[in-house]
């Protein structure tokens, strides 16, 4: 590509960009104009945008009435700016010169070519804005009509008597049109009659208000109601009837009328009567029609409001309160309560939307809790924004009184723009005061064309006061629920640890950690009081390994001592509450800390203390919230103690039964067994000493044989009663002895000759013994494997056969007693016996010191 074409292309690109920038700027200004922005805003936008587009130029707007003065004005502006070069274009409104748009060069260079056309484009926009503003300011123009509408609507909203509203409608119409009188006339299609609702004629009225007459007697109205379009009567002399005569007699002239259409049907008409010498201009009936259309809505609203007010009235407010209060009483979610509050407010006030807004004084931020805007919501629920962005709320929360915003176009900020864009208009807000402090506000937003009457904010405030209690309840319960949820989870986590038989330090560390998390404090310690008043640190949320984590600090000890004295929560908030001798030492040691301690009471007795330490003054509710955690600890301890007591008592039962078996076995061994043995030996001695006749010998042999049988029975019985040699020979030899006795082949794997506590060895022995007996009796197994392994924490024994399976704990298995024995030792018992796939019985017995009620830690 040649250099020339590159340059051309660059130039083209640049001019294209310039055009695009200009278009964008014009579009922005045009938007302002079409939105009927205030004239000043349009002017400012024009000067800023045009100055930005024209390099090194400053753009101004000047007022010039006389086209001949244009050049002079432009030159004056250039001189005033000290510029050598200026370009001005005229601003022409409705065919007449209004002013000029002038660009003044800020350098010595002349302004770029094309500046004039750019200015011309902007001048057209300025002209449109001026024309639009003039139209609004014109008598009877849009602005005046809007003003009239606002006044009517205000009356309607205030619940004014229908007569007052209709009077206003007529009066405003007369003023806007600049006519002698206006009548509001109701039309009854069934009877073909008109009824004059109200007229502004005063003394010159042809008929009093309320008069009914045939439609034919009122030609202007007749036309309007039959055609549904505006109508006019230019010459009353042509009209027959008494009314026409009277009309002329009272000095009225031309008349126009427009139908009043409410909810799609013709309600009646509005008629305007000029003075005798007055010419009503050609557009007059159209203007009346426009006005009437506007008013129809107002009249319709009056009807609707009348109906509603008659039927609901105060009951509505009370009904709303009842519904909200019911929700609160039912313990509904706060969101549901807040939703109800906002929805009810929107209904009572008849506004487009209502927001419930929380106010944070510290950060000067609002948070929208809930709004009824639906899809028209400028921001989602939960959004936070600066107080300044919400003028209606800002007023309410800063003054503590109801506030209102009538015109959002005056309010800066994106939210205001969004508010308008979503089609909302006037807004009222009332503060929500809970427990004497400002919680936030409730804001009601009318529709774009809706007028919120003067009393509206007061009604909202009254309603809000009623609701404040409901909101307070919901909020408090929300907090409680949050706390309960939090602590429920904390309790579950701690309880899980307890159930898993975690070591006491683990449990207390967990409690401290949970409290620290829930309270949002850096350090929580759990301690136990001992005799003599000392307190021993059992657990801490602190980082392990920090030097101060092994003991309570001086401040904590001081608080713990106070707790022990008073049996109530105690705190140090500032150094002055600490006794003098402690202050220097403690401060030197640890710096200032706020310390709060709360007692842990277990079954009515002071057991220990939970201490919270923070670098800043702890919140007033710390004691209360801490109490919840002391209860957590206390119940954990109670649970553990109860559980330990249960385990201990089961263990005692097993021990006692073992002792009984041991004693019976010993008695058998030393008593009956020894005596039967002596009998047997004595019999043999007799036989050894005397040669006996064969028949006597046979009798003695039989007795000897029976005695052997008795001894064997006793031996088997004794073996099942108590493993007498277990204590002496240990588990391995005893299990091997069982294996040797078993009719089913036994594969024994007992690692090492380690000795275990007697209850553990006894339990393993009994379980293996019973399992082998069951295998022999029921399993049809060819082989049984017995495995015993152990480590520092426990012993695991498994008896597995290759038999038919299908064994169960109940029935005659004799296993159920073993389950008790194993669980009494804090162990676990498992039986797996799928039909056809053998039986595996396994137990786990802990070897760690068993918690008992004598142990001090837990």
């Amino acid at each position: 590509m040649s250099r020339q074409s590159l340059r051309t292309m660059a130039k083209t690109t640049e001019s294209l960009n310039q055009v695009l920038r200009e278009e964008a700027a014009l579009r922005r200004v045009a938007t302002l104009v079409t939105e009927v922005a205030p004239q000043a805003a349009v002017f400012e936008a024009v000067t800023v945008e045009a100055s930005g587009l024209l390099a090194s130029a400053q753009v101004q707007i000047a007022r010039v009435d006389d086209p001949a003065e244009l050049d002079k004005t432009i030159a004056q502006i250039a001189r005033a700016a000290g510029a050598d070069c200026a370009i001005g274009v005229p601003i022409v409104v409705d065919g007449t010169t209004w002013g000029t748009l002038v660009a003044v060069s800020t350098t010595s260079e002349p302004l770029a070519a094309g500046s004039a056309s750019c200015l011309a484009n902007f001048s057209q926009l300025v002209a449109s804005a001026v024309a639009s503003a003039q139209a609004r300011e014109e008598p009877g123009g849009l602005a005046e009509q809007l003003g009239a509408l606002r006044r009517i609507a205000t009356l309607v909203a205030q619940g004014a008597e229908p007569k007052a509203v209709f009077t206003a409608v007529a009066v405003e119409a007369a003023r806007i049109l600049g006519v002698g009188a206006v009548s509001l006339i109701n039309y009854d299609a069934n009877s073909g009659t008109f009824t004059k609702i109200f007229g502004t004629h005063g003394d010159r009225s042809a008929v009093p208000d309320g008069t009914t007459w045939p439609v034919a007697d009122c030609p202007e109205g007749a036309l309007a109601v039959t055609t549904g379009r505006p109508a006019r009567v230019d010459d009353w002399t042509e009209v027959p009837g008494a009314l026409a005569v009277e009309h002329l007699a009272q000095g009225f002239g031309q008349a126009v009328a427009a139908p009043v259409i409410i909810d799609g049907s013709i309600w009646g008409c509005i008629a305007a009567y000029g003075e005798a010498d007055q010419i009503l201009p050609p557009g007059c009936e159209t203007r009346l029609a426009d006005y009437t259309n506007l008013m129809a809505t107002a009249i319709s609203n009056v009807k609707a409001r009348q109906a509603r007010d008659e039927h609901r009235g105060l009951a509505e407010s009370q009904g709303a309160l009842r519904r909200v209060a019911t929700l609160v009483a039912q313990g509904a979610e706060p969101k549901a309560v807040f939703t109800a509050v906002a929805v009810e407010a929107a209904r009572i006030l008849g506004v487009g939307a209502v927001s419930l807004i929380n106010y944070d004084e510290d950060t000067a931020m609002f948070t929208k809790i809930f709004g009824t805007h639906g899809e028209r919501s400028p921001v989602p629920d939960g959004t936070t924004w600066p107080v300044a962005d919400c003028p209606e709320g800002a007023l309410a929360v800063t003054t503590g009184r109801p506030a209102r915003v009538d015109d959002w176009t005056e309010v800066p900020g994106a939210l205001a723009a969004e508010h308008l864009a979503q089609g909302f208009g006037q807004a009222v807000a009332a503060p929500v005061i809970i427990d004497g402090s400002i919680w936030g506000c409730i804001a009601a937003y009318g529709e774009a064309d809706q007028i919120l009457p003067p009393g509206c904010e007061t009604r909202l405030a009254d309603y809000t006061n009623l609701m404040a209690t409901a909101i307070a309840n919901a909020q408090v319960r929300d907090e409680l629920r949050g706390l309960a949820k939090q602590q429920g989870a904390a309790l579950r986590r701690v309880a899980t640890l307890v159930a898993q038989q975690a070591s006491p330090p683990t449990i207390f560390n967990a409690v401290a950690g949970e409290a620290s998390r829930a309270l949002g404090v850096p350090r929580v310690d759990v301690g136990r009081y001992h005799q003599g008043g000392s307190v021993i640190l059992l657990g801490s949320s602190g980082q392990p390994g920090r030097p101060d984590d092994h003991a309570f600090s001086e401040s904590e000890k001081y608080v713990a001592a106070r707790v022990m004295e008073t049996r109530r929560a105690a705190r140090i908030d500032d150094r002055t509450t600490r006794p003098a001798p402690n202050v220097a030492a403690a401060d030197q040691e640890e710096g200032f800390r706020s310390v709060v301690g709360a007692p842990i009471m277990v079954e009515g007795a002071l057991w220990g203390v939970i201490v919270v330490v923070a670098g800043e003054v702890l919140h007033d509710d710390t004691e209360t919230r801490l109490t919840d955690f002391t209860h957590l600890v206390a119940s954990s301890i109670s649970n553990v103690q109860a559980r330990n007591n249960l385990i201990a008592s089961r263990a005692r039962i097993v021990t006692a039964s073992d002792e009984t078996r041991r004693r019976i076995e010993r008695n058998l061994h030393d008593g009956i067994q020894a005596r039967v043995l002596a009998l047997g030996l004595g019999l043999r001695a007799v036989r050894a000493r005397f040669p006996l006749p064969p028949e006597v010998q046979a009798g003695l042999d039989e007795v000897a044989h029976d005695l052997e049988g008795v001894l064997e029975e006793i031996r088997v019985f004794s073996q099942g009663l108590h493993p007498a040699l277990l204590a002496r020979s240990g588990l391995g030899p005893s299990l091997r002895a069982l294996g040797r006795r078993s009719p089913v082949r036994v594969n024994l794997d007992v690692a090492g000759d380690a000795r275990f506590p007697e209850p553990v060895e006894t339990a393993v022995y009994y379980v293996v013994s019973e399992a082998l007996a069951n295998a022999a009796k029921h399993s049809q197994a060819a082989e049984v494997s017995v495995t015993v392994i152990s480590d520092a924490t426990g012993v695991r024994a498994t008896v597995a056969d290759d038999g038919v399976g299908g064994a169960a704990l109940g029935g005659s298995s004799g296993l159920i007693g073993l389950v008790d024995r194993v669980e009494a030792l804090g162990g676990r018992f498992a039986l797996e016996s799928p039909v056809g796939r053998g039986t595996t019985l396994s137990i786990e017995l802990p070897l760690a010191p068993q918690p008992t009620d004598e142990q001090p830690t837990l």
Binding site: H669, A688, R689, A724, P733
Partner: protein, 133 residues
């Protein structure tokens, strides 16, 4: 038949009496009886019997340990352990006791004792008692 001298150690007086009577009638010379380990050692040293019968469960004492003391050192006594219990229950305990054999008490007689001694003399370190299944 050479008269066998025998010492019986048991904590049950009734057994001592009936065993002594039986063995004596069967031609064994029961030279002494004791119910404790110390007494057993003293008698064994003084009487030097051919064989000493020791109850495995000697009251509060461990008969196995008593057997070990009798068979070790200068005394080097010949010991047969006796018990009401089955041999199956005691296998591991018997090993290392130094005893030459085991007899269930209800199987006790002179012939059984003599057989154990004969087996041991033939070099049977682990003799099988005749009346034991």
């Amino acid at each position: 038949m050479v008269t066998l001298s025998c010492l019986i150690i048991d904590d049950s007086e009734k057994f001592l009496v009936s065993a002594t009577r039986l063995l004596s009638l069967q031609g064994v010379s029961v030279v002494g009886r004791a119910s404790t380990g110390d007494e057993a050692l003293r008698l064994a040293a003084a009487l030097r019997p051919d064989v000493t019968l020791v109850d495995v469960e000697l009251g509060a004492e461990d008969g196995i340990e008593v057997a070990r003391r009798l068979t070790s050192g200068d005394l080097s006594a010949m010991v047969i352990l006796i018990s009401l219990r089955d041999r199956n229950e005691l296998t591991e305990l018997l090993a290392g006791s130094g005893a030459i054999g085991f007899l269930r008490k209800d199987a006790l007689d002179a012939q059984a004792v003599a057989d154990l001694i004969a087996q041991w003399r033939q070099g049977n370190v682990a003799p099988e008692p005749p009346h034991d299944g």
